[in-house]
């Protein structure tokens, strides 16, 4: 198989391109208000305290720095910053940092250590196999969070579309910006894929794998992603990103 053949067989496209990105993207409809911790965002029993908010007597206060979101009666704060805290079901990209007798220790850029046991590895693996031949030290992998307990996170790679990450490059963004990079129904990431021709896998933990036919294509995707993270609270961002991508691919 030549490189081009491998490249055309984008595994996640076989899945419709979206299974890998859980629909946790959103679109910016209007300019949002920035709130600070402790700020009163609603008063009275008519409102319900959602994510990153708390009831304090008659008031609902923000418990995190971020963008205010009030949808009907539900108040929440969309964070702009913060370490990645793993949740069950998250699709993440991690790095193999150690190999033990029964699995791989994976760094997913979170305060908790993550482990991929042999039984959760895709394909058929037995304890007698040389595990470094499946995932080697330093290799980047796509995995899903099976569960989070106490001190550790359990991972699995037994999912459709979880292919090996060969070639390409890794881009790192704050995990709170991931929904914007994905966009509603994947609209944003698909836009970037379309204009750059790149394979892109966005991990919920803020690690993004990009692979294109040329390094320039990958760097263009990277620049678009940087633009999204820097302007994540701007409205009409999808249009602005589209404009940017169009201007850079005009002559191609």
């Amino acid at each position: 198989m030549t490189n081009k053949q491998e490249f055309d067989e984008r595994p996640e496209d076989m899945d419709g391109g979206m299974d890998i990105h859980q629909d946790m993207g959103y679109e910016e409809k209007k300019e949002r208000k920035i709130v600070v911790p402790g700020e009163v965002i609603a008063t009275g029993q008519n409102f319900l305290p959602g994510e990153n908010t708390k009831r304090d007597g008659q008031n609902i206060i923000a418990t995190r720095f971020g963008l205010l979101d009030i949808e009907e009666r539900l108040t929440k704060v969309i964070p702009l910053s913060g370490t990645y805290i793993p949740r069950r079901g998250n699709v993440v990209i991690g790095k193999v940092v150690d190999i033990t007798y029964n699995g791989w220790l994976i760094d997913i850029d979170s305060p908790y250590s993550s482990f991929l046991p042999i039984i959760e590895c895709k394909g058929f693996v037995s304890k007698k196999d040389d595990l470094s031949l499946i995932y080697n030290y330093g290799e980047m992998v796509i995995a899903k969070v099976l569960g989070v307990k106490g001190k550790g996170v359990d991972l699995t790679t037994r999912e459709r579309g979880f292919h090996n990450l060969e070639e390409g490059m890794i881009i790192r963004v704050n995990s709170n910006k991931v929904p914007r990079v994905i966009g509603k129904q994947g609209s944003m990431v698909n836009l970037i894929k379309e204009y750059t021709g790149c394979n892109i896998v966005v991990g919920q933990n803020g690690l993004i794998w990009v692979r294109g036919e040329t390094i320039e294509a990958e760097l263009l995707a990277r620049d678009a992603i940087t633009m999204i993270t820097e302007k994540s609270f701007v409205e009409g961002l999808t249009d602005k990103v589209k404009e940017f991508l169009m201007s850079k691919t005009k002559n191609k």
Binding site: G38, T63, R64, P79, G82, T83, I85, P111, S113, K151
Partner: protein, 233 residues
């Protein structure tokens, strides 16, 4: 002689010029600069992150660790680089003044490290540090129920004055130290005391007055902190 006119001409309840900015250390998870006049503090937050050694971990909650330091050339008499006992005390006191507002039970076994460097010192350093830390923690997305504001109030020569300079801290009458330094911190929306220290000799009624004056001054600090965070666009 009573201290009725301040060395720099400020009114008794007037703070020095305050300035605050977030994002000054891009590599950190959150960061901020806070200035009272000529006293400048920079704070950077890393965390929640893995905590080692393991015996320090708390399975029920994340913990906060503060590391306060004055850089060698921030003071007139060069401070040898490296840890100092005074720094250790201020580090602990800073952590305790911030703890009441932090919601860390969702991050068991982790640590949030707050590094505070005083890059220029003219009294009120621990307070500038606490203000910078409060901003840096919020900027880092740490869940908090409130912001924290700190101010040092002094009782000298029978007067209660806000935001002492070094000159005021060293104020003497008849060859004896005559200034009482009262650093204090408040939760800014809730207006509760989270830090209170005192060094000197003060009449109880002056102390109560100091608390009231400090609480009032913290309102302005709240505005500055909110503006610094909102200005991030």
């Amino acid at each position: 002689m009573a201290y009725t006119k301040r060395f720099d001409g400020r009114k008794a309840d007037e703070m020095r010029e305050i300035e605050a900015k977030v994002g000054v250390v891009p590599r950190a998870d959150g960061s901020a600069m806070f200035r009272f006049g000529d006293t400048v503090a920079i704070a950077a937050v890393y965390g929640p992150r893995h905590l080692h050694p393991q015996f320090l971990q708390n399975p029920r909650t994340g913990i906060i660790r503060c590391h306060y330091d004055m850089i060698s050339f921030s003071v007139t008499d060069r401070k040898r680089p490296g840890p100092a006992r005074r720094s250790q005390e201020i580090s602990d006191v800073t952590a305790r003044s911030l703890e009441p507002v932090l919601l860390l039970s969702q991050f068991p076994n982790t640590v949030i490290d707050v590094f505070i460097n005083i890059v220029q010192a003219d009294a009120g350093t621990r307070c500038a540090g606490i203000n910078a830390a409060s901003l840096a923690l919020a900027h880092a997305g740490i869940p908090m129920t409130d912001l924290v504001g700190a101010i040092s109030v002094g009782a000298l020569g029978g007067s209660v004055v806000v935001d002492l300079t070094k000159e005021e801290e060293d104020y003497e009458e008849d060859g004896e130290k005559a200034a009482t330094d009262i650093p204090m911190a408040f939760t800014l929306r809730d207006k509760k005391v989270s830090l209170l220290q005192l060094d000197g000799r003060v009449k109880p009624e002056h102390l109560k007055e100091a608390l009231e004056v400090g609480r009032k001054a913290s309102e302005k600090i709240y505005e500055i902190q909110k503006t610094a965070l909102r200005g991030l666009k």
